[in-house]
């Protein structure tokens, strides 16, 4: 679905002479139907990477392929954007229209989809994210989580194969956060969509099929959540967190108690501890 080969991205700042590499030799493959989380602290290059997935940014070096299409090929950019939907951090700044359903219709309208078909897509998309009842509401009166679901519906209405979420929960409260994560999982499980989640929240990354850890523009790890989070010391060194139960098991093991190192959830942790208690 998405493939980057030796991707580099640099930008020159006005004040400094030096060229800074925001992305440095990034090789990443996201397969169809996969849920991949890209984890890293602010400024590690993860959002820059996301913007390469639909051609918003073009590589300074290396290549990015979306379903085999090179993002550098100018005549394909619209086709690529249609295939990769994007959801951004600030829910207010990605809603164009004053009525929910008209906002969701924005992308298909741009693509020249006939009216009847737009109606159908908009209704479907709103039902998928559970916002159909509020389709005639004004977006500015919705909660953060609801606005983000509208933005997701707006992306789904393009009928993309993949949606890239660029820190979609950073500005939400816990309730909004779980609404967005559940919607994301639903897209993956029920609609078979490919999901890429850019985040610095480890609880969210733990729900993915694969976690990619980035730091200073490089990919440091690319593995299953279980394997990634068992490296407590490594993640903490990068300024990242691990789930509390994972850290608990890590601390217990360090104290010589035989507990597994790859627990991610409360249930798994309780299971492991019950063996000893």
């Amino acid at each position: 679905m998405i493939k980057t080969e030796h991707l580099r991205y640099a930008y020159q700042t006005d004040t400094e002479e030096t060229i800074k590499f925001v992305l440095d030799d990034v090789n990443l493959t996201v397969n169809k139907g996969e849920f991949v989380a890209v984890l890293g602290h602010n400024g590690c290059g993860k959002s820059t990477l996301a913007k390469h997935f639909n051609g918003l940014l073009l590589p300074s070096g290396g290549m990015v392929y979306i379903n085999g299409m090179n993002t550098k090929q100018e005549d394909l950019y619209q086709e690529i954007r249609k295939n990769v939907g994007m959801v951004f951090q600030n829910p207010d700044n990605q809603i164009v229209a004053t009525v929910v359903e008209e906002d969701v219709a924005f992308a298909p309208e741009n693509l020249g989809v006939p009216s009847d078909e737009i109606r159908h897509r908009v209704d479907e998309a709103l039902k998928t994210v559970g916002m159909y009842e509020l389709r005639l509401h004004a977006p500015h009166l919705l909660s953060g989580g609801q606005k983000q679901r509208v933005a997701i519906a707006g992306a789904i209405a393009m009928e993309p194969e993949c949606i890239v979420f660029d820190e979609p929960t950073a500005m939400l409260d816990p309730k909004g956060r779980s609404e967005v994560i559940e919607t994301m999982l639903k897209l993956k499980n029920e609609k078979n969509m490919t999901v890429v989640l850019i985040t610095h929240y480890m609880e969210e990354a733990a729900r993915a099929d694969r976690v990619v850890v980035m730091d200073r523009g490089k990919i440091l790890r690319d593995d299953t959540p279980k394997n990634i989070f068992s490296e407590v010391k490594f993640l903490k060194g990068l300024g990242l967190d691990v789930p509390q139960v994972t850290e608990l098991c890590y601390l217990l093991a360090k104290a010589g108690i035989p507990v597994p190192q790859d627990v991610l959830t409360v249930e798994e942790c309780a299971d492991a501890l019950m063996q000893l208690l």
Partner: protein, 267 residues
Amino acid sequence: MLKDITLGQYFPIESPMHRMDPRSKIVLLIFMIVAIFIADNPITYALVTVFTLLIILLSKVPIMMYIKGLKPILFVIIFTAVLNVFLTPGTKIDLWGYTTPMTWEGLILAGKMALRLILLIIASSALTYTTSPIILTDGIEKLLKPLSYLKVPTYELAMMMSIAIRFIPTLIEETEKITKAQQARGADFDSGSIFKRIKALAPMLVPLFVSAFRRADELAVAMESRCYQGGEHRTRLREIHFKGIDLIAVLVFVLFFAAIIVLGILF
């Protein structure tokens, strides 16, 4: 405060007015305004008033919403009325044996002006309450279409307008937030000389502009991600059509307009 301004707010319900083509609503509103201003005798006034009430009924928007819409201009109405009452030359009004500076002619003129203003606001509100901003801009764009042959970017203008409308509530909220934040740092927006007050606005305006630019940037990226490429080949969720209901509305309106003119000449 700022949130109370209702003019320009869409009221999402179903009604005959909601179903109408925005183009016919805009054109009819223009003629309605003309009618309000040519009405000049009791009969024609009564007619435009009744017609306005009919519009309120057909829009199915609660009358309270219209009254709320009048609130911000209440001051203007009262102010012009007072000026008219005192400044119009004519027969002075006698009250309890005193001759006041008010005139009967002034009183009548004030009443007429107030009524006109009120009807004007109600008729305009009826358009914005029953037409979502996107459809309204669609309508304006279509009406301005002839201009695009003169290389006027009508589509882009319409898009700009609808985005501006979309961001009004967001920016109002932001203004309130920033004002409070600066007040918490001891800002004083309402005392001192005019010059001082204007200077005191910088801590509010600068962050507001910075945030507006940031929003514009992010919005542009989000729009691009959703395949925005200007007005060409664009379709609509709701294509606007001139329907039967529009024909009926136009016919009724033509009758009404003719009646205003005829009655205006006769009486």
